[in-house]
């Protein structure tokens, strides 16, 4: 990393140094902000791009004028980071860097760390016919951005050596979430001059992607650090499985699922753990949870988070408080189709070899009766873009469902078999295996790709996910609130992150519907020839229940039994 001396006009002793380096560790900087190597002269910290794109500043010559530009927004979130946006006509002279000095902290953005986008308003105002990416924005995530400053100076530095300084008011954002969402919105709504998929990935690749991921980790860690947990118990039986459901914006799915899952053969062996990413629903969810336990006789744990921690982190938080050795990740818009699915699930787990049940999915159906999911596979799209008269290509992984839209009678998609991945709408996983895999990755923003990522981690560690034939309905996409720009931006980040992590290994031997990976070669067992009911079936008339002999479960347990005192912040109700 090349470092630079702070210009003498700034007060070195007052400056808290922020070292932001691609891949650098925070250990390089002491708590007081000074560098870890005392023999080095303290320097202003700047964002350092990879060696391959770093350029040495031009030698100083006759002073050049900084071209027309505007710093439109510098926003910070306390202990979150800084965001910058604006435009510059660097179509002739190249921009070198942007330096922000807020007194207590400094950040320098080299040109390569900025995302560039088209600006029709600027193009028209400058009357420049050749298309150019006048717009820029970037994000630097760091918890040491804070302090009382309400304005900052911003220097625009050209490679010619020209410098122009502005005094810019700081937009103080409410919190880290707002900062992240600002970046996601820009990512989603930027006007890319080339292929949007390639261009957005390119801007993430250089620098911004890691910043968004790090900021998101800060956010999700804070949100899941102190959840509010309440348990509503209808009985004291131990659970053989934990149905874990992540709610976002649609509280009614809790009582709908409790109603439709309960009263079925084998369900008494399962507990429900609902985790909410919607803090505004806390009060109604608490009311409903109590009602559900009372009405349906289920054991229900409600985990309330103070914000949207994302799918992965929220589910991990829910699994952490579950009380069984088997975790079932279930979307809120998933409902039983096979009325005895719980009993069949228990039988599968008990009778099949461990490698076939360590992690598995199930056939899911649309409300119209056609198949929605028969397992997942990976395919690749080659995107192409033109930049400065050169073609640029990139292979992007796409996750697809086996048999999506197929008739219910398509047995080849129902057979028990190993598959490259299964959807997070329904994943049954041995709890110990789930934890060994590290749970869901919390680096994905809000939600998407966590399921495929988990399955690939499992394959990487020697166990393929399987499909087993216990059918459920999945009203895809109906379980959460409507998508906004931040969700689109999150999708872009997640796609970038997923491909960065898995594109190469998947391309090796896991692409397509018939991958050659050795773990995915087991012969599928033929599925039963039954077809799902064309519409919701009525349960048979109620029979007088015969008392069942008590069942003794002799399996070793990892978790303590229900009834032990809960930690502070956790409450338990018994009906």
């Amino acid at each position: 990393m090349s470092e630079r001396k702070i210009p003498k006009i700034l007060k070195e002793t007052e400056i808290r140094r922020i070292l932001i380096r691609s891949g650098a560790k925070m250990d390089d900087v002491r708590a007081d902000g000074t560098a870890a190597r005392p023999e080095e002269e303290p320097t202003a910290v700047h964002v350092s791009p990879p060696e391959s794109v770093r350029a040495e500043p031009a030698a100083a010559a006759t002073p050049h004028v900084v071209p027309r530009h505007t710093i439109e927004n510098i926003a910070i979130a306390d202990r979150g980071g800084v965001f910058i946006a604006g435009w510059i006509n660097d179509s002739v002279e190249e921009l070198a860097e942007l330096r922000i000095d807020a007194g207590a902290w400094q950040v320098t953005f080299p040109a390569e760390s900025l995302a560039r986008s088209g600006r029709d308003d600027v193009q028209a105002a400058l009357a420049i016919p050749r298309r150019h990416a006048f717009g820029f924005w970037s994000l630097a995530a760091d918890t040491r951005v804070s302090g009382p400053a309400t304005s900052c100076s911003c220097e625009v530095v050209m490679k010619s050596g020209a410098v122009e300084r502005h005094q810019v008011p700081l937009q103080i954002l409410f919190d880290q979430i707002e900062l992240r969402n600002l970046a996601l919105t820009y990512l989603a709504s930027s006007q890319y001059l080339g292929n949007p998929m390639l261009d957005s990935v390119a801007c993430l690749d250089k620098f911004i992607g890691r910043q968004i991921v790090d900021l998101n980790l800060l956010i999700s860690n804070a949100l899941t650090g102190r959840p509010h947990v309440e348990r509503f118990l209808s009985h004291r039986r131990s659970s053989r499985g934990s149905i874990v459901v992540c709610l976002y914006g649609r509280p009614e799915y809790m009582f709908l699922q409790c109603a439709l899952f309960s009263g079925r053969a084998g369900i008494e062996d399962y507990e429900f753990v609902y985790v909410s990413n919607s803090p505004e629903l806390a009060e109604p969810l608490l009311q409903e949870a109590r009602l559900c336990a009372m009405t349906y006789g289920v054991n229900l744990t409600l985990v309330l988070l103070p914000g949207n921690a994302g799918f992965g982190a929220a589910n991990n938080a829910a699994v952490a408080v579950s009380q069984s050795g088997r975790t079932l990740i279930v979307n809120p818009d998933v409902f039983p189709l096979d009325q005895d699915w719980a009993a069949r699930h228990s039988t599968l787990v008990e009778t099949l070899p461990a490698e076939q049940t360590a992690i598995f999915g199930a056939p899911l159906y649309y409300d119209d009766g056609s198949l929605m999911h028969g397992g997942m596979y990976f395919d690749g799209d080659a995107a192409i873009s033109v930049e400065r008269s050169l073609f640029r290509t990139n292979l992007t992984l796409r996750v697809e469902h086996f048999g999506k839209g197929a008739p219910a009678s398509a047995h080849q998609f129902l057979a028990s078999r190993p598959v490259p991945a299964v959807t997070g709408a329904f994943i049954s996983c041995d709890r110990a295996w789930f934890e060994k895999l590290g749970g869901f990755s919390e680096e994905f923003v809000l939600g998407h790709y966590e399921d495929a990522d988990l399955c690939l981690k499992s394959i990487h560690q020697g166990t393929a996910p399987w499909m087993h034939n216990i059918k459920l309905w999945h009203l895809e996409g109906k379980g959460s609130s409507r998508r906004q720009a931040i969700h689109e931006g999150a999708s872009i980040v997640n796609r970038w992150l997923f491909n960065r992590r898995w594109a190469a290994p998947v391309a090796e031997n896991m692409l397509g519907q018939r991958p050659t990976h050795p773990l995915l070669q087991a012969q599928p067992e033929p599925a039963a020839t039954e077809q799902p009911a064309p519409r919701p079936a009525f349960k048979q008339p109620r029979k007088v229940a015969q008392p069942k002999p008590p069942r003794v479960d002799t399996r070793p347990r990892r978790r303590k039994m229900v009834g032990e005192p809960l930690a502070a912040g956790r409450k338990e109700f018994v009906f």
């Binding site: 009614e252 009582f255 709908l256 109603a259 439709l260 009263g263 109604p284 009311q287 409903e288 109590r290 009602l291 009372m294 009405t295 349906y296 006789g297 818009d333 409902f335 409300d367 119209d368 309905w473 009203l475 109906k478 519409r535 919701p536 079936a537 009525f538 349960k539 048979q540 008339p541 109620r542 029979k543």
Partner: protein, 430 residues
């Protein structure tokens, strides 16, 4: 001596607070059972925010007007989309009420304002009680107010599906109706026996998925408002028609007004139609305006030229005097009309009924035997029928003599007691 059978009737509203067919039938049953020494009956009727004076601070279930064994369920926080109550305290109060009353039979006459999940709560609280549910409309099947009338073209609907329901209510996707159906059926699993007042309803519900062995036909019964003294004047011409009911769209008053215009246009004017009813404010804007405009034009006619008279609302105790002014009762409903209490009321006073040829009307009336049927929603068909009724010699007497007495409340109570106690139904032996 065996202890009386304890029956809890659960009603949508009390008929003295909100008039309506379902609550009227439930109350008739309550009154009939109350007179039996072998039955100990309690009524729990819902009230809603339209009656704020009845709500008492901190109370969720209260007595009603110092009447023994009559209670009010003070509904609140009602979710009209999923038909459930999310107020925990109210549900806990209901559970406590059940534990206090400890009925052998819990007979629901509705779930609106009560919550469909109250069925499941009842089952969990009283595992051994027999739960009976009487359908008074199609609300479980049809999210469009339970009418099963398509909002796309006002035609009668015979089958619900995700796509068809979405066409009527486009603000909801097909998946919503799919889920709604599962939700309703899940709670109906707690019901031991269903009843319907007409047989055609059974067809609808069986097609929807109810086990036909779990449905019994129990016609609605009422007290005889004529007290056996129906007055039938000797008249040569039977040209006086009466409408009795709410002036809302699905009751089809507009069909009568259109028929009147057709008759007048064809030169036939020797008849009169008396409109008895109210609730015009609940009609749709176009229908309400059309009615008001018609009556305004009618009022401008010389009295001798008026064919339609508006008598306003009435109470059941006034039925005798209102019926005595007419020869025929017209029931022009443009929806299925589950039972048509007004048909029974007309028959109490020996008035033949002219009705639409669908649903409960078609089932109860035998054309040319005890009444006349016309094509539903067809004003010309009604006009022709009215003209026939006025002009065909002997028709009125023939039809009046063909009228059978409508079911009494005692007959209805007997039939329900059979349902409460029956082991003969196939399901009971399962």
């Amino acid at each position: 001596m065996a202890s009386p059978m304890k029956v809890l009737l659960i009603s949508l509203f009390h008929p003295e607070l909100v008039r309506g067919g379902a609550q009227q039938v439930c109350y008739e049953l309550f009154q009939a059972l109350r007179e039996r020494p072998d039955v100990d009956v309690t009524l729990l009727a819902s009230a809603d925010a339209s009656m704020p004076a009845l709500y008492k601070s901190g109370a969720r279930i209260t007595g009603f007007d110092r009447r023994p064994n009559e209670f009010l369920f003070l509904s609140r926080d009602y979710d009209y989309q999923w038909h459930k109550i999310s107020n925990r305290l109210l549900i806990e109060s209901y559970v406590e009420f059940l534990q206090l009353v400890r009925p052998d039979i819990v007979h629901f006459h509705h779930f609106l304002t009560l919550g469909i999940d109250l069925l499941t709560v009842t089952r969990r609280t009283l595992p051994e009680a027999r739960i009976v549910f009487t359908f008074h409309e199609f609300l479980a099947i049809c999210a469009a107010d339970g009418q099963m009338v398509r909002r796309t073209d006002k035609s009668l609907c015979s089958e619900a599906s995700g796509v068809r329901c979405h066409q009527c209510l486009p603000e909801q996707p097909p998946e919503f109706f799919f889920l709604r159906e599962m939700w309703m059926k899940r709670h109906f699993e707690s019901v031991d026996v269903f009843t319907t007042p007409t047989r055609f309803m059974i067809d609808h519900y069986v097609r929807w998925g109810i086990d036909p062995n779990r449905v019994a036909h129990v016609p609605n019964g009422q007290a005889d408002y004529s007290r056996g003294l129906a007055v039938v004047e000797r008249r040569d011409v039977r040209n006086r028609f009466g409408f009795f009911g709410q002036l809302v769209d699905n009751k089809g008053v507009h069909v009568i007004l259109d028929a009147v215009e057709i008759l007048r246009g064809s030169g036939f004017t020797d008849f009169v139609v008396e409109i008895n009813g109210d609730n015009l404010r609940f009609a749709s804007e176009p229908r309400r305006k059309a009615f008001e405009d018609f009556m305004e034009r009618e009022a401008r006619r010389p009295p001798s030229d008026r064919n339609v008279v508006m008598n306003g609302s009435y109470h059941v105790h006034e039925l005798g005097s209102r019926m005595s002014r007419v020869d025929w009762c017209i029931v022009p409903s443009v929806w299925w009309e589950i039972f048509g209490l007004v048909i029974s009321e007309a028959w109490m006073f020996q008035r033949p009924v002219i009705a639409s040829n669908v649903g409960g009307m078609k089932e109860r009336i035998t054309h040319d035997v005890d009444g006349l049927l016309f094509n539903v929603g067809d004003a010309r068909s009604l006009a022709e029928t009215m003209q026939r009724a006025c002009t065909e010699d002997g028709l009125w007497r023939q039809l009046a003599e063909g009228i059978r007495p409508p079911p009494s409340r005692e007959m209805m109570a007997e039939r329900f007691l059979e349902v409460y106690e029956a082991d003969a139904l196939a399901l009971a032996s399962a």
